[in-house]
């Protein structure tokens, strides 16, 4: 027995030794700190690595990608797409993990490696809770593709958060248009990205020190708030280019409540009210104070959602356009002027002149509708008694200031707080304000126009550049304006053609304006890149 067992035992012992002593390669370090700005996983995960030729080929393989290539130009650099996880703070000061993208240019060309500028980008409103702007493999990630092609593939390091409330974030809401939270999150991901850069597989590319801040739509507001916060902290920003953002939130809110209902209002409303309710706690006692009985159930957790927005509409969880009641509020008694302002914009007694957007504004009324008349009236009374300098009716007050005193109506008070005129801040760094003059989603005159007018007496000449891509082509961005307008003309012709549905000119024009806000984005991004490239 001894002679047999001994060699077998030795071999078994060797097996156990190997099993216990086995090792494997190291993976990323998980941060123990949850302090805001901490990179949670270092090095970050690289989702994809595309060289310039592959990226170009993948873009050219789809019609939308091919159109984008015409605006962005061919990629000069490859791009490595990293998935950042970092710690930040929510709208009610909650410690929370968030995620985002670090896109690093790669390649042998001098403009693709070494010391490169950083573009800190804030994305537009997205209803998809699973949004991951770093995931270039997801075909629905159009904004990720846009910024990769526009900036990263041309030598800019791109840093972009998904925002708290999206992707891996466990925050049960999104701090939508919360200037303090969103600017803080932008700064946190910038800090995390700077930590990550030396550890990536693209370490040949590093932070060159130039910092550009930009973003579109909701992200335009975020970008401007971030510019304000960075400048307040003493950080040096090379330039900023907020695009099509709702900067003058009080004025914008007043315009909407007075009947100029923007496209997307029924989506923005629950995002906004929940964000501000979480941050300030006073938007309503219960959601039923604000929302009609038809839609109030589950409204606080409705968006962002894993359910596609079309299904949310089709299953009756939200109205597609009817934000307000088509029956004009009858109580409490209102002044004739205010009562008229609450009419449907197509009503002959509505005081503002008709515009091409009037049919779209009127579509914001219906039954059933989203917002209770009582809440709308309370807002309107506050706006009428303590008007914004830019709204509602001419003459505007000089300098288009905020309301003279802090509003008392809670939602308007929150908009006042997050309006970027608040605090009389003005940019210290070169700033391009790009948008489209006919934007039916984020009104250009009420936001970009108001900020430009507000800042005009406060900043040195030339510091602020305003670009309306629908304007008459002129100046350094004439080609961008010409390109956008040609694109719109081609799209209109397509809608009227048999292939595009053979729509009547009026129907085609309506469809064009409905897609206008999204159509502006790549052209403004191209303008921003041109603006950054000379600094």
């Amino acid at each position: 027995m001894f002679k047999l067992v001994t060699p077998l035992t030795l071999i078994l012992a060797a097996t156990l030794l190997y099993a216990c002593g086995g090792s494997s390669s190291q993976t990323a370090m998980i941060a123990t700190s949850t302090a805001h700005g901490t990179l949670a996983v270092n090095p970050p995960f690289r989702i994809a690595s595309l060289d310039a030729a592959t990226f170009q080929a993948e873009l050219a393989a789809t019609s939308s990608g091919a159109q984008l290539l015409q605006i962005t130009g061919k990629p000069s650099c490859g791009v490595d797409f990293y998935y950042l996880k970092f710690w930040t703070v929510g709208g009610a000061a909650e410690t929370t993990q968030s995620s985002g993208a670090l896109m690093v240019p790669t390649g042998a060309a001098p403009a693709c490696s070494g010391l490169r500028p950083i573009v800190l980008y804030a994305h537009g409103t997205n209803t998809d809770k699973a949004l991951n702007i770093a995931d270039i493999t997801n075909t629905s990630n159009t904004e990720g593709v846009l910024i990769a092609a526009m900036f990263a593939a041309q030598g800019f390091i791109v840093v972009a958060p998904n925002y708290a409330g999206y992707d891996i974030s466990t925050l049960g809401y999104h701090p939508f248009l919360n200037a303090e939270q969103q600017s803080g999150e932008m700064i946190d991901i910038l800090t995390a990205a700077r930590t990550a850069l030396p550890k990536t597989q693209s370490a040949a590319t590093s932070d060159g020190g130039k910092l550009f801040v930009t973003g579109y739509s909701e992200g335009g507001h975020v970008a401007m708030a971030t510019q304000r916060a960075l400048e307040a902290s003493g950080a040096v920003i090379t330039a900023a280019a907020p695009m099509s953002g709702p900067y003058a939130l009080e004025a914008f809110g007043d315009a909407i409540f007075f009947g100029s209902v923007n496209i997307g209002s029924t989506v923005f409303a629950p995002l906004l009210s929940t964000s501000y309710q979480k941050a300030y706690g006073n938007i309503y006692g219960t959601p039923a104070d604000l929302y009609s009985a038809t839609y109030v159930s589950g409204i606080e957790t409705l968006l962002p959602s894993f359910t596609p927005i079309d299904k949310i509409f089709s299953t009756g969880l939200l109205p597609q356009t009817a934000a307000f009641d088509s029956t004009t509020p009858g109580s409490p008694p209102l002044s004739a002027e205010l009562a008229a302002l609450l009419l449907v914009p197509t009503d002959p007694h509505y005081p503002l002149p008709a515009s091409p957007l009037t049919p779209l504004f009127a579509a914001g009324f219906g039954s059933p509708n989203l917002v209770n008349n009582s809440y709308r009236v309370s807002y309107a009374l506050d706006a009428a008694s303590n008007p914004d300098g830019a709204i509602p009716l001419p003459p505007l007050r000089a300098g288009v200031p905020l309301a003279a005193t802090v509003p008392t109506q809670p939602l308007r008070q929150a908009l006042y707080k997050n309006d970027l005129r608040n605090g009389a801040w003005k940019p210290n760094s070169p700033t391009l304000l790009c948008g489209g003059g006919s934007d039916p989603t984020v009104f250009f005159p009420v936001n970009t126009g108001v900020m430009a007018t507000f800042w005009s007496p406060l900043v040195a000449a030339g510091l602020i550049t305003v670009l309306d891509v629908s304007g008459t082509p002129a100046g350094p961005f004439a080609a961008t304006q010409t390109g956008f307008q040609a694109s719109q003309a081609a799209q209109l012709a397509y809608y009227e053609s048999p292939a595009g549905g053979g729509l009547s000119p009026a129907a085609a024009q309506l469809l064009l304006i409905e897609g206008y806000h999204g159509a502006v984005a790549p052209f403004c991004a191209a303008a921003a890149r041109a603006f950054f490239s000379v600094l």
Partner: protein, 234 residues
């Protein structure tokens, strides 16, 4: 899993020992122990599930390169026609290669060595040996149990590039049936030459973790081995 598998093997060994204890005594003029060493050529016929997990393109799979290593075995004769063999190859450096898309993004994948590991695969075989002990040639057949443990698992630089960063690999240990056919040739005195062909079932669950991103696959290696060895009886 590993603990259970080792226990299983240990039970087999104990059973073997018990069998030895109950076995009839062998003829005095034939040694009952043999040590063998030789060349161990392993050919894999891998069938693996496509890798699953986040950011894995369709059809990303893996394969294993064939290896050659040192064959070591201890054989105990239980009776004139029954042997028990414990085989142990010197743990080779096993290379795993990508199979599927030529590139993942722009990172080369198909045919690239993406990981290495060493394996230790002790196998217990119960063999029936034909003819009597005086025969010059003695064919044999056997069945048994294989235990495979993987260690020194490393994702290569190419594997890290394809996976998205430094990657930690784990492979569960495997226990499966094994079979062999072979022939022994008596050279002189206590020396014999052997040649054999063996198959075994070796399967494992692969887990690859890259910065918190987990990808998995189930792999059947389907190893077949050709062995040429020299044995000394004592």
């Amino acid at each position: 899993m590993t603990t259970f598998s080792v226990r299983t093997l240990f039970a087999v060994v104990v059973a073997t020992a018990s069998l030895y204890g109950a076995a009839p005594a062998l003829a005095d003029d034939f040694p009952s122990n043999s040590a063998r060493a030789g060349l161990y050529s392993v050919f894999f016929h891998v069938k693996a599930d496509d890798l699953t997990g986040p950011y894995v393109p369709h059809g990303a799979n893996i394969d294993a390169n064939n290896v050659e290593t040192l064959y070591l075995a201890y054989v105990r004769s239980l009776s004139p026609n029954f042997d028990v063999e414990l085989t142990l190859g010197y743990p080779p450096l096993q290379k795993t290669v990508g199979k599927g898309p030529a590139t993942l993004g722009s990172v080369p994948y198909n045919g690239q060595v993406i990981a290495t590991a060493r394996w230790l695969a002790p196998t217990v075989l119960f063999e029936y040996v034909f003819f009597d002990q005086n025969s010059k040639w003695r064919p044999y057949i056997g069945v048994g149990v294989n235990y495979t443990n993987f260690y020194d698992r490393n994702s290569t630089a190419q594997g890290n590039a394809a996976s998205g960063g430094p990657t930690k690999l784990s492979l569960t240990a495997s226990v499966g049936p094994a079979g062999t056919v072979g022939v022994g040739y008596h050279i002189a005195n206590n020396w014999h030459m052997y040649a054999s062909y063996s198959i075994s079932k070796v399967s494992t669950d692969l887990t690859a973790e890259t910065a918190g991103v987990i990808r998995t696959s189930h792999i059947n290696f389907g190893p077949q081995a050709l062995v040429v060895s020299l044995g000394y009886s004592f």
